[in-house]
Amino acid sequence: MKEWNEVEAFKDWWIAAGCPIRPPFEYPIHITDMAYALTVYRKGQYQVELYICKPNTETQVHAHPGIESLSVYLTGNLSFATNGAPFPDLSQYQKEGANGTHLLLGKSLESINGTPHALKVNQEGGSFLLFQRWANKKPRSVAVEYDGVTLGHKHDKQIEVANVE
């Protein structure tokens, strides 16, 4: 089985391979009160999830213990804050880029190696990819490997289901 030695190498391979969309049969979809996620590719300890986020939503500071991750911008209006820093102002980049896409399409946002972070989504909603390497567990979703205040009833239910299975 091909493996990678770090999450960035996995991200580079996945993009160079043409962004293959092959969701796994097992645990492909996770839902919270803020976002819906699809694992678009999973191999060994690595996976990439695609998140679609509702407008005008925000997480509190949280962490995903044991998971190295790297986010890549797709579209919409969102930003990550890490290690207690304020949300960065990305308003200057809220404009159209090549071929009618978002100017930030494909840009790496944050490398989050189990450290505390938060996500804010503005009125356009938003979408990003999250490349992950799970150190000790079989990959499932960062939505259920969540250390922090959850996002509501749907999120609680999702975590409960994952813990039972």
Binding site: G18, C19, P20, I21, R22, P23, P24, F25, E26, P28, I29, H30, I31, A35, Y36, A37, L38, R42, L50, I52, C53, K54, P55, L74, T75, G76, K95, E96, G97, N99, G100, T101, H102, L103, L105, E124, G125, G126, S127, K154
Partner: protein
């Protein structure tokens, strides 16, 4: 460019499914689903739909839009009025690569043919390929004729009217 939604679907699937969401109107939500436009060119687009476990949509149409659905993951029972709608539970299993047995399976949904969904405990993920015959594409979430999914869906439709 493509002559119909089937040509567009076949081109997209054979081109490695390019991930190129638009800047304008990329994300929509209802009470039990969210969508991301993955690719848009002229009057053609493909939207990724993610649906909640145990959710349903009432019968509806998308006037002026020719559609084709492609199965990705989860547990999705599509119904098309006037068609044979086999029970998908018989295919609720993994293929040899660890993907869903139905990954890549497609169903055409001609303009004005009522269709609806029942989603199982796993939730659902599918692609909606669309050819908008009379206007620039937005989302079939807001081009909706029939009973809506609920109040969130109503608000999303209303918000687009005011843009």
């Amino acid at each position: 460019m493509w002559n119909n939604v089937q040509e567009f679907r076949d081109w997209y699937m054979s081109s490695g499914m390019p991930l190129r969401p638009p800047f304008k109107n990329p994300v929509f939500h209802t009470d039990n689903a969210m969508s991301l436009c993955m690719f848009r060119e002229g009057r053609f687009q493909v939207e990724l739909y993610l649906t909640e476990p145990y959710s349903t949509t009432p019968p509806h149409t998308h006037p002026g839009v020719e559609s084709a659905f492609v199965y990705l993951a989860g547990n999705i029972q599509f119904y098309l009025e006037g068609r044979d709608n086999p029970d998908v539970q018989q295919w609720q299993k993994s293929n040899e690569n660890g993907n869903h047995f139905l990954l890549g399976t497609t169903v055409d949904s001609p303009d004005m043919t009522p269709h609806w969904l029942n989603i199982g405990p796993e939730g659902g993920a599918f692609l909606s390929f669309e050819y908008w015959k009379n206007e620039d594409p937005v989302s079939v979430t807001v081009n909706w004729q029939g009973q809506t999914v609920g109040t969130e869906h109503d608000k999303t439709i209303e918000s687009v009217k005011h843009e």
